[in-house]
Amino acid sequence: MYEFFKNLDRRWVFLLMLLAVAVPILLEAKFPEKATGLATAVFTEVENLEAGAPVLLAFDFDPASEGELGPMATAFVRHCCEKKLRMYFLTLWPVGPRMVEDAVARVIKADFPELKYGDDWVNLGYKSGYEGVIKVIVTDLKQLYTTDHFGTSIGNIPMMEHIQSVQDFDLVINVSAGYAGTKEWVQYASTPFPNIRIVAGCTGVQAPLLYPYIPSQLPGLLGAIKGAAEYEKLVLDKYGANHPVRDADGNPVLDEDGNPVIPGKYLEGIRRMGPQMVAHILMIMLIIVGNVIYFVERSREGR
């Protein structure tokens, strides 16, 4: 057994990991979620806003991290829609506009068609310049954003009338996959201007780098898919029944217990925690096996 594990081809490990992720997806395995303090802090920040409050949603990610951050973006947009907040989308990533459009199509156009572009939400699109953009718009947004994503003059968009800079937003929600992202928003927005409140959702790789900013510079943070699942749970607990799956006649579809069925798009984070759970168990087992082999080898060598 020892020799077998010691000389195990790493491709068997790849295959095991593939199965550990694929099987729960195919079986649609789900596990219970309980919100931790950081997810609750993010939820509370959004929840405390009054209807009509302006919120900046900076979606700084691309398709490469959509699997991790897409569920967060969906949950954020839905929460803002349920709270009737005015949403201003922008991105510092070239592919970001597509991510904004996806979230808008998934949530606003599908479940909140009454929200009007220009009055309730606006897509300011992409601007290059990374932190340079943040540094400018924290004091003068219209210096850089003369038109929206579709080329409409900012002056013709009613909801832009009272917005002069990022300081006019009641909250900044940043979904970040790296540079430029949450770190830059903290460095150039919330730190020099403490009246700017920022909450964020980020990839797992970034999360440990952002924890030092909590709570004074960053009141709340959703770390990786786990954070997304927790936030989804909080949003669903409060607003889950508002937009259930409907049949062809427009009636809510009920599950076996008589509860309305929640659309799968609002459960992506929770759903993706199934494969996470199994894959993590496999990782832990592999680490234990690796350590056992190491110590056995060391004892055999008489060290």
Partner: protein, 352 residues
């Protein structure tokens, strides 16, 4: 036929057979995409104050104007196509077999199949480096470079450079929404810098590119330095100065918050001592530095755990794409009719 060719031939044949079986099970082609087509029409009208305005003919604002009088030259028509789900298409066809609003999209269907092929091609690297992986990798690099160039031109150069220097020209040529008419001649400076940067491509004049590069590095260093100094140095010192005995809250909250602050302060001090090399790490200093190593190791472990979680999430989304959009094995977002979707797999919801 060498061994490698044999392996790939078998893999492709096996894949083709499995896809054919899946096609038989679904009862047709799977991995298809559909679109909802909308006809758009904008009409130029005259407002009461004599200005001209383009209005959406299907918008309620258009009711304020008499659009029937508008000549054909003042009308603009085009169609937009938005992604639709298979179930929307199937329901639309069931309601009206002659409808044309929901349509099968060949280009998007090909996109799904090409994406599936490239996903598998990238995965194949885990077995061994191979030509399929190299093709997929090269396509990603090429497409990304081209995309960045196009986005850079239309989102940066046009509005932020040309639009500032000559807004009227840009307004009529590319951005009708740009309502500024003022020439900002100062933007000729970045234009000149940009041209100087391009001199890097010239064999004799490449030294010219060093000047704008030096300027950019200097400016960038200044901006970054201030950002880090303020947010990561000064603010972090302030954040580390915390009360070791928390009096807010009550009961166990006081205990846990105090314990958390105590660990924070000890951790910061121990890690600082570890990076303090002016003294030999012996005695009390050595023991504190060792504690610092433990804190660092726990931090690295947490970072590794988060990274693993992120990578598994990326794998999960690609597999979801293969099983859902391509093979139609699962249907978590109820995109298809029940008799097509999820026909193989029972749902295992442990607790929802």
């Amino acid at each position: 036929m060498n061994r490698e060719t044999t392996v790939w031939t078998v893999v492709f044949l096996l894949g083709a057979v499995l896809l054919a079986i899946r096609g038989v099970m679904v009862g047709g082609l799977f991995g298809t995409a559909y679109v909802k087509v909308d006809e758009r029409e904008f009409v130029k009208v005259a407002t009461d104050d004599g200005e001209t305005l383009w209005v959406d003919a299907h918008d309620e604002d258009a009711l304020d104007y008499d659009l029937t009088q508008a000549p054909e030259s003042d009308r603009r028509r085009w169609t937009t196509a938005e992604q639709a789900t298979p179930i929307e298409y199937q329901q639309a066809v069931a309601d009206d077999p002659n409808q044309t609003q929901y349509r099968f999209s060949l280009s998007r269907t090909l996109g799904i199949w090409i994406a599936a092929f490239f996903t598998l091609a990238i995965f194949s690297f885990l077995y061994k480096d191979n030509p399929f992986y190299k093709v997929a990798e090269s396509v990603v690099v090429g497409v990304s470079a081209a995309y960045w160039m196009v986005v850079g031109f239309w989102n940066v150069l046009v509005p932020n450079l040309f639009g500032m220097i000559e807004p009227r020209l840009v307004n009529t040529w590319a951005m009708p929404g740009l309502d500024s008419t003022e020439n900002h001649w100062i933007f000729i400076v970045p234009l000149v810098f940009g041209i100087m940067l391009l001199m890097r491509l010239s064999p004799k004049g490449s030294w010219i590119a060093r000047w704008p590069l030096a300027f950019f590095i200097g400016v960038f260093c200044g901006i970054r330095l201030l950002g880090f100094l303020h947010a990561d140095f000064l603010s972090q010192i302030r954040n580390s100065v915390v009360s070791l005995y928390v009096t807010d809250g009550g009961g166990m909250d006081i205990l846990w918050d105090s314990l958390r602050n105590l660990i924070l302060v000890i951790g910061v001090l121990a890690c600082l001592v570890y990076f303090f090399f002016s003294f030999e790490h012996k005695g009390m200093v050595g023991r504190t530095a060792r504690l610092g190593i433990w804190f660092l190791m726990i931090t690295f472990g947490a970072g590794f755990g988060f990274t693993v979680m992120g990578r598994i999430a990326l794998l999960a989304i690609r597999l979801e794409f293969l099983f859902d959009d391509w093979l139609w094995l699962i249907d978590p977002t109820s995109k298809r009719l029940a008799d097509v979707a999820g026909m193989l797999m029972p749902s295992l919801s442990i607790i929802t």
